[in-house]
Amino acid sequence: MATSLHSNQISAGQEHAPGGSQNPVLVTKDSYEELEEDLSLDVDQSRPRHASGVIAEIVESRQHSEVDSNQNNAAVDYPATDQQVKGITADTNHLSLGDGQLTDESEVFVEEEEQRLRSGSVLQTVEKTKPAVVEEDIHSAAWKKHKKHIFILSEAGKPIYSRYGNEDKLVTLMGVIQALMSFVQDDKDSLRSVVAGGHLIVFLLRQPLMLVAASSTGESQQQLFLQLRYMYNQILSVLTHTQLNRIFEQRRNYDLRRLLSGTERFLNSLADLMDSDPCFLLTAVRGLPLDNTVRDVIGQSMQSAKVKDLVFAILIADGQLVTLVHMKKYILHPADLHLVINLLKASTSFETSDSWVPLCLPNFDSSGYLYSHISYLDDSPACLLLMTVDQMAFKEMENCKQKILEKLKKHNCLAAIKDSVKRGSYTCQEVGISELRHFLYKNKSTAQFTAPSWGAPYSDPAEQERLFSLYRFVHQKVHNPARPLKILFYVGSHESALGWITSGFELYAVFSPLTTKQVAILAVNKILKWIKKEEERLFILNPPEY
């Protein structure tokens, strides 16, 4: 039973949430709101769905400024002084949790495991095997047993991608999907989802593509939609929306796999990552834990090496963001950054040489590419991406990279990054709450999150997967559009969990099974205090701008 307890009032101010900042590096829009908007466009087709035109805008403004700088005959420089940077830091040093205090009296919904079992969202058996490298027979039991299938096909029903097995062998299935979707579409009502045989099947139409997920993981329709959107964006990131449309306008029957060759690896890796990395669930980015003075030096080094037309300079280590410098007017969407992280994860070839890669970031501009200089710095785990609108600017970016590299070496930053990666995230014990087993904390004003490492009892991948499935469940409960909950307490046989959403943050915490709600609430307040204390190390709060 869902019980609700009344309280005087709780509200957590956004500005006081740990890890908050007034100048976010990332777009902070809520992903579910975004999804709602996105899906509503299926009906109202007058508004454009895709971000477009930003690159053209930058190119144009560059032509203006070229004229300007030729007239003045002077170089433009954008260094921020030390004082400026320190001044910003000082502002975020206050701490007041008053607003965000959770008390025993707060309105908390309690959910028992039984209900979750009945709703089919408990992962009973865990898929232990990694996706097979050998091609699977689609009639085999193994193929049918996969927890989540993802299919992509063209509107004409041509197979483009299947997560498992060879998409060629799925022609019949693809045909059925295509018939279903166009049937419902003709009815001016697009097919969203069906439940069949313990599977939730979700359909996303993104002309000229159709995307389908068939899942028995207990995930909600929205969660699956978000994943399909990621898959779609992965395709856009190599082709652009403009090019994709043009191809199918010319030939409805085009076999897109020809153009996508090699992209399957990135789609597979993305699908696997979405099943294990909470960053997608939270639409947030994890910062690499780093002393804030080190991070500031890195940011300043990247900023002072600025060259013309550089839109984003991003430093990533081990899938975590070290820091990011952006052109003042333009900020990056976390979902675009996730595609970049996936790109690095799925490809080892960047490690050996400097690359020059056209990348479309669909939330930034789906109509064109940002040209990206990608290099690992000095055989360290730190990977630098320099993104520009000028496709001929490799040499300028190469020089920019050299300057950054020299500065980082001079200040020993690469060693600090290496250490942090080697150490990994903090353990849950460090937080010092005995009942606490694990947590995820997202600050909404920065779209960043933090989590301890997978310590005991979650060292085993199968246990991690079970925990992840619990997070998904709580997440889905507190995000349910029909009945949005602010706080949920879940009582299960393996563990208890608390989910809490405020205007400033989302927190999901997992406790040992007999932990009471009262104890959990106390613990959650302690977590927030601990994060506040550590926020400068865990979050990127004052990223410099160009």
Partner: protein
Amino acid sequence: MSGSRVDLKVVLLGKEAGGKTSLVERYLHDRFHPNVPYQNTIGAAFGAKKVEVGGINVTMGIWDTAGSERYEAMSRIYYRSARAAIVCFDLTDDTSFDRAKFWVDELLKNEPDCKIYLTGTKYDLIEEEKRPRKVEETKVEEYADEIHCLVYETSSKTGQNIKELFYKIAQDYVEDPKNREPEVDEGIIDSSQPNTKPDKCSC
């Protein structure tokens, strides 16, 4: 390596999985990973190497491009102002030779100053694994005569002919009277100055 001045821009072109990355990897790092699954290049990768030819130091900037069709439209930014092109085809794949011809045509049309080295890759597959040769030597020779270029057959697995190929490229460059004049410092852009040169080349 990078950041230093590049004298000679070399570009590799050819069908996907034709062996370009393996060739560069062998030359720059003297290694070959037979058991690592094939990863297609995305965009292009840049590497540099110094060679000495008859007492003259030449720094080669080597562009390993992606063979995938979707990068075709932007291939020009990679081969633009290259002085040498290694046009690769896989000796065990006849369609890769058609693709090589496509690149030769492109180069002849757009970069007349770029010297072409037609290169059949994966020779070890024919020699050691007895895979059938799909591109006949005579056919390649005839074509090479027609377009006046040199032909090499290489193996990145054994390293066969790879040092020789790059050395020859450097040698041809040094011996070409057109390249006698010491070039202006093209490899370094001083970013404190606004770049007003209308014609930039990407290395």
